[in-house]
Amino acid sequence: MIELRDVTVRYGSTVAVDNVSLDLPTGKIYGLLGRNGSGKTSLLSVLASYRRPSAGTVRFDGADAFENPAVMRQTCFIRDTIDANDSDRTRAVLRFAGWMRPGWDADYAARLTDLFELDPRKRISALSRGQRSALGVVLGLAARAPLTILDETYLGMDAVARGNFYRELLADYLAHPRTVILSTHLIEEVADLFERVVILDRGRVLLHEETDELRGRGITVTGPVAAVDAFAGGRTVLGEQSLGGVRAVTLDWRPEPADVARGEAAGLTFGPVGIQDLFVHLTSPSQRLEAVR
C-alpha cells in the first residue's frame, strides 16, 4: 500500500499540492488526471522521492519513502524529459539503467528499442521529441520496478508508437504485475488501461475512484435529436455531439432500469460515460463546487 498523508508541496508562496491524503493499493494501474498546473508532477515527484514534501509523509508498505534505499530501488519515475545527459548515447543510457536497476530486463529493453525504432548509437540530443518519449517508455517498462510512474512520458510519440506503448504496457503488466501510475492529458486514449482514476485539481484530490465506478457515474445516450433532447431534459449534460439527425449526450446521472427501458422504447441506445467527458466536466471552473460537493 502506498500512503500519502497530508502531503503539501510549496514553491515559495505557490502551493502546488495542498494537503493531499491518498491510499493507493499496490498492483493496479492508476490514471492521474488533472489540468495543467494542477500539481500532478509535484505529487509524482514526492511519490518518487525526487522531492521532499514541504509537509506530510509518503509511506510505501509502511516504510517512509524519502531517501529509503529499499523504496527508491523499487520506484521508477519517468518524466516527460529524460533524466539522462544530452551527450549520452541511447545505448549508454540503457546500459546504465541495467547496472543500477535490479529488475532490469535487457532483452526486453532491446525488443522495445527495436519496436520503437530507436537507434542505440544516437545521442540523446539527436533524438526527436517522440524518440525521447519512446526511450522513456523503454526505461520505464524494462526496469520492471514495483512502482512505475510515467508522467506524460508518451507525449510527442505518434499514434502508432502510442498504440505500441499501450499494448506493451498492458502485456507486461499482466506478465509482471506491479503498480503503474500514468499521468496523461490523452485521457480517452489511455482510459481503458486505468483500473483506478485520481483527479487532481488545484493541488487537491477531486476524486479517487475505481474506473468502472467512475464510468457508472454517468451515461451516454445516443439517438434521434428530438428523442435525446426529451430524455436528457433537466439533466446535467457533460458533453454532446451531433451528426445529421443523430445526437449523443453524456449525462451526469445514473438512470434506473425503468428509465433505460423507456429510452430504448424511444429508439435510444445507452453506453458508459467517457472518462474524458467526466474529467472535463469535473474540472471546469463552473463545475468545481458541484464536483467537490
Binding site: S45, C76, N85, D86, S87, F96, W99, M100
Partner: protein, 227 residues
Amino acid sequence: MSVYRALFRVYRPIIIPFAAILVTFDLIVTALIVYGAGHLGFSMWLVLAGNAAKYWLLVVGIMLVVMQLRQFVANGATRHEFLAGFAVFGLIVAAGFAAVVVLGHGLESLVLGAAGRRGVGYPTLSATGLLGEFGQVLPEALGYLISGALIAAGFYRWRPWIGLVVMLGGAVPLAVADSLLGVDEFGNARAHLPFLAALALSLLATALAGWAFHRVISDVPIRRTSG
C-alpha cells in the same frame, strides 16, 4: 551495482584518453625543450600533470553534481548512496592522480638524471621524497574535487545569486590547499608553514566543505537540468 563502481565505469572512457593525451603531450614538450635547450630546468610533469590533477578533479566535482546525481537518483539510488559513492570514487581517483603525479615526477627525474639533462633549477625527486610529495598533492586534489562539487551543488540547488554566495565558500578548500600545499614547477612550496600545520588546515577546509556539500545534496530536489 554500487554507485562508485558505476562511476568508475562511466568515467573510465574519459580517464584513459585523458591520461594518454597528458603523457603524450608531456613527452613531446619535454623532448622539444631538452632538444632545444639541452637540459630541463624545471619539472614539465609537475606543470602538466600537477595542474591536470587539480583542474580535472575540479571539473569532475562539478560534473558529478550536474550530470550524474540526477542520473543515479532516476535509476533508484538515494542521494546518500550517491554521496557515499562520490566519496569513495573521489578518494580513489584523487589518490590515483596524486600517485601518478608523484611517480611521473620521480620517473622524469630519474630519466633526466640518467641522460644528464637535468638543469640547475630542476626539482630532483628521490625515492625518499615520494611520500612527502604525495602528501602534498593528494590533499590538494581532494580540495579541488570538493570545491567543484560544492560550487556546482550551490547552483544546482538554489538560484544563481545564492549559488554565487555558495561559490565563495566552495572555493575555500581549493584556495587553502593551493596556497598552503601548492608546489611550483621548481618544487618550491608557496607557503612557508610547517607541513603538518598546512596539511591539517587544508584537510580541515576540505572536510568542512565536504560536510556543507553533504547538507546541500542530502535532500536536494532532482531538477530537470540538461547535461
